[in-house]
C-alpha cells in the first residue's frame, strides 16, 4: 500500500508528460544491426564508439554518421488456461556520431576521437514503475530501449596492428523531490487546499567501455571489450504535511539499461571479398534489480550471447551483410511472485551498404538493415508456497498474483535501421608511406606485394569503401 500510495502520487505529479517508447538497446547503426552486432573484432565504423571504441582507430578519414531506427515490439501474454492478449509498442530512436583523427605530429595522428549522441524517439527519460510488483514486465526490452546517451571515445592506433580504445557515456537520471501540503483557506472543496510543489533535476551517471582490437594477420583479427553497463534512476522524496498529518517518504526507481558485459570477438577474412565474424558476449544479468532496486525472486542468470556476421563485397560499392545471434534469456522460470516476461531469442539480420564514392565520387555511404527477433515460448508454473500471502493478517493464504496459476508468453521484434555516413574530407585518402611501410613490416617477410594490397583492402574501414 505504501508503494501504491507513492506511485499514485507520482502519477499526480508527473503524468502530464508525453508517453512513448524508443530505443537504445536496439539503437545501433545499420551496419552493426545487419551483422547482428558481431563487430567487436571487425574494423570499426562510428558504431564502434559503443561496441568497441578501439575500432574507431581504424577510421582514416573524418566521418559523420546520421542514423535512425524504427521497430515494432510485439508480445503475447496469457495465463494458463486463458486466451491472453497481445501488446505492441514502437521502438524508435536516432543519433549522430562523429569520429576524426587528431591533428598534429605523426604520433598524435594515430589518435582518433569520437562523439555520439543517441536519443530515443520521444522521451529523454522514461521509467515505468508498476504499482504492483506482479505486473508482467519485460526486463530485456523494457527500459533498455529508452536510453538517452552522450558518448565520447578515444581510439589509439598502435604498432603490430593493435588498437586500444575507451569511451565514456553519460545517461540522465531524474530526481524529483516533492512536497504536498494542505491549506484549508484556499477553497471550499478539500482538493482546492492541496498544494503540490515539485522540483526536477536531471543528473548524469557515467559508464565506461574499454576495448582492444588486434589485427594479428591480414586474414585474422581479435577483439576484446568490457562494458560497464548502467541504469536509469528516478528518485525523489515525498514530504506530505496536512494539519497534524506528516508523512516523509521517498521513492527510488531503478531501470536497467545494460548489464556489465565482456565481449570477445574474432574476425576472419578467408578471401578479400568476404569477412566472417563471431562474438561471444558475457552479460552479468545476475546483478539485475527490479524497478524498486530489489533482487528478483528467483535471481536472474548470467548469459553468454553468441553472434555471427558475414559481409560480402559484391561490388566495389556494394556490401551485402547477414547476421545471426542466439541470445539466451537471463530470466529463470517465474515460480514466485514476480512475472518477468522473457525467453531465449534468435536474432536474424540482413543489410546492404552502398558506397557512392566509387560510383559518383560522392563520399557518402548508405547502410540499410532489417532485423528480427524471434523468441521461444516462455512457460511458468507458480509455486503457491513461494507466492506469499496477499492478506497476511488473516487466516489462510490469499493468492491474487497476476501470473497465477502460471503463464506463457511469446514475443518478437521487427526493425529497420538506416544510416548515412559522410566522409567529411570530401576525397579518399591514400595511405601514407609510413602506414604502408609499417603494415608491410608487420607481415611475414615472405608475403608478396599483392598480398599486402589485399590486406589494405580488408583492413580499410567498411564504411569508407575500398581504395580505388
Amino acid at each position: 500500500m505504501r508503494r501504491a500510495a507513492i506511485a499514485a502520487l507520482a502519477v499526480f505529479t508527473l503524468a502530464s508528460y508525453a508517453r512513448a517508447d524508443s530505443g537504445a538497446y536496439l539503437g545501433e547503426s545499420a551496419r552493426a544491426v545487419s551483422l547482428a552486432d558481431a563487430i567487436v573484432a571487425r574494423p570499426g565504423d562510428t558504431s564502434a564508439i559503443y561496441f568497441n571504441p578501439a575500432g574507431i582507430a581504424d577510421l582514416e578519414r573524418p566521418t559523420l554518421s546520421l542514423y535512425g531506427h524504427l521497430g515494432n515490439r510485439q508480445v503475447r501474454f496469457a495465463r494458463s488456461g486463458e486466451l491472453g492478449a497481445s501488446s505492441r509498442r514502437v521502438i524508435s530512436g536516432y543519433g549522430v556520431s562523429l569520429v576524426a583523427r587528431l591533428p598534429g605530429p605523426e604520433w598524435l595522428e594515430r589518435v582518433r576521437i569520437g562523439g555520439s549522441v543517441h536519443l530515443p524517439g520521444t522521451n529523454v527519460i522514461r521509467v515505468i514503475a508498476p504499482v504492483r510488483s506482479d505486473v508482467p514486465i519485460e526486463p530485456y526490452y523494457g527500459g533498455r530501449t529508452d536510453r538517452t546517451a552522450v558518448t565520447v571515445a578515444l581510439g589509439v592506433e598502435l604498432p603490430y596492428g593493435l588498437r586500444l580504445g575507451a569511451s565514456l557515456s553519460v545517461t540522465a537520471n531524474l530526481v524529483a523531490p516533492t512536497s504536498v501540503g494542505f491549506d484549508a483557506s484556499r477553497g471550499e472543496d478539500v482538493d482546492d487546499g492541496v498544494i503540490i510543489a515539485q522540483d526536477r533535476d536531471l543528473t548524469l551517471t557515467p559508464s565506461f567501455v574499454l576495448g582492444a582490437r588486434w589485427q594479428a594477420i591480414p586474414e585474422l583479427a581479435f577483439g576484446l571489450v568490457w562494458r560497464q553497463g548502467g541504469a536509469t534512476r528516478a528518485s525523489g522524496t515525498f514530504d506530505i504535511r496536512a494539519g497534524s498529518i506528516e508523512v516523509l517518504d521517498e521513492y527510488r526507481f531503478y531501470d536497467l539499461l545494460a548489464p556489465e558485459e565482456v565481449a570477445l570477438g574474432v574476425c576472419v577474412t578467408p578471401i578479400p571479398a568476404l569477412s566472417l565474424s563471431l562474438d561471444l558476449t558475457w552479460g552479468r544479468w545476475s546483478d539485475y534489480r527490479t524497478i524498486h532496486e530489489e533482487l528478483p525472486d528467483p535471481l536472474f542468470s548470467d548469459v553468454v550471447d553468441v553472434r555471427a556476421g558475414a559481409e560480402w563485397r559484391a561490388h566495389e560499392s556494394l556490401r551485402v551483410r547477414l547476421g545471426y545471434g542466439f541470445l539466451p534469456s537471463p530470466v529463470p522460470e517465474q515460480v514466485a511472485s514476480h512475472n518477468f516476461v522473457d525467453s531465449h531469442r534468435h536474432e536474424l539480420a540482413l543489410g546492404l551498404g552502398l558506397d557512392l564514392e566509387p560510383l559518383a565520387e560522392v563520399p557518402v555511404t548508405i547502410d540499410l538493415a532489417l532485423r528480427f527477433h524471434a523468441q521461444h515460448r516462455q512457460r511458468a508454473t507458480k509455486d503457491p508456497a513461494r507466492l506469499g500471502d496477499a492478506t497476511p493478517d488473516t487466516l489462510g493464504q490469499t493468492i491474487d498474483n497476476l501470473g497465477y496459476p502460471g503463464f506463457r508468453s511469446r514475443g518478437s521484434v521487427a526493425q529497420v535501421a538506416l544510416a548515412v555516413t559522410v566522409r567529411l574530407d570530401g576525397a579518399p585518402s591514400a595511405p601514407s608511406e609510413d602506414d604502408v611501410s609499417e603494415e608491410t613490416s608487420e607481415e611475414d617477410a615472405g608475403e608478396t606485394d599483392e598480398e599486402t594490397s589485399d590486406e589494405d583492402a580488408s583492413e580499410l574501414p567498411q564504411v569508407e569503401g575500398d581504395a580505388p
Binding site: 502519477v11 499526480f12 482538493d191 487466516l395 489462510g396 493464504q397 491474487d400
Partner: protein, 175 residues
C-alpha cells in the same frame, strides 16, 4: 502503471482519479459462484484527488469501462460500462478487474484490483505462531490454528471450517 517521463509533446488532458472498491476482496478457493462480489467505481472523480470523495453532482458524468479477466465469472448485476457491477466467480484462481475512468474532457485514469482466492492453509508452527493463534497438532502436523472455540463454520475466517469435535476452526479436509 506509473509513468515517469520527460518529453517534448503537448501535455495530455488532466487525468481523472480511478477508485475501485471491491467487496469482498477475496473468496474461498472453490467458491463455485456462491459469493456475490460488488465492484464499485463510485468514488472515482473527474480530477486528481488525494482524498476519495463523493462525486460532484454538478460535474459532467464520467464514463466507466470494466475489464475482467482471470477466473471464470458471470456479471449478475450491472454491466461492463456501469458505475457498479456484481459478479460471481468460480474461485479457482484470482479475478483481475481493471477499471478505466474517462472524463468529459478526455482525461483517463486506470486502476487494477484483484479478487484473491483463499487457500485454507494453516501455517506450520516452525518459527512460532502469530498472535491469536496457537500451535496445535492437526492431521499429523503441528500448525498454527486460531484461538477460541467455534460452534459453526460461519464463525471461522480464512475459509476454515469448525471442527465440532474439538470446537476449533481448522482447515477443511484435503486442504
Amino acid at each position: 502503471m506509473v509513468l515517469l517521463a520527460l518529453g517534448c509533446a503537448a501535455p495530455p488532458p488532466v487525468p481523472a482519479t480511478a477508485v475501485l472498491d471491491a467487496s469482498p476482496e477475496e473468496v474461498c478457493r472453490g467458491d463455485a459462484f456462491s459469493t456475490p462480489i460488488t465492484l464499485s467505481a463510485a468514488r472515482s472523480a473527474a480530477r486528481l484527488s488525494l482524498v476519495p470523495a463523493p462525486p460532484d453532482p454538478d460535474a459532467p458524468p464520467l464514463s466507466f469501462a470494466w475489464q475482467l479477466e482471470g477466473d471464470e465469472h458471470f456479471v449478475v448485476a450491472g454491466d461492463l460500462d456501469s458505475r457498479e457491477l456484481t459478479v460471481l466467480m468460480a474461485g479457482e484462481r484470482p479475478l483481475h478487474a481493471t477499471l478505466t475512468v474517462t472524463t468529459f474532457e478526455g482525461g483517463v485514469a486506470e486502476t487494477l484490483a484483484s479478487i484473491g482466492v483463499v487457500l485454507p492453509i494453516a501455517a506450520p508452527c516452525g518459527e512460532g505462531c502469530p498472535s491469536g493463534t496457537t500451535c496445535v497438532e492437526h492431521q499429523g502436523a503441528e500448525v498454527c490454528l486460531p484461538d477460541g472455540e467455534c460452534t459453526s463454520d460461519e464463525e471461522c475466517s480464512g475459509c476454515f471450517v469448525c471442527d465440532l469435535t474439538r470446537s476449533r476452526c481448522v482447515p477443511p479436509e484435503g486442504a
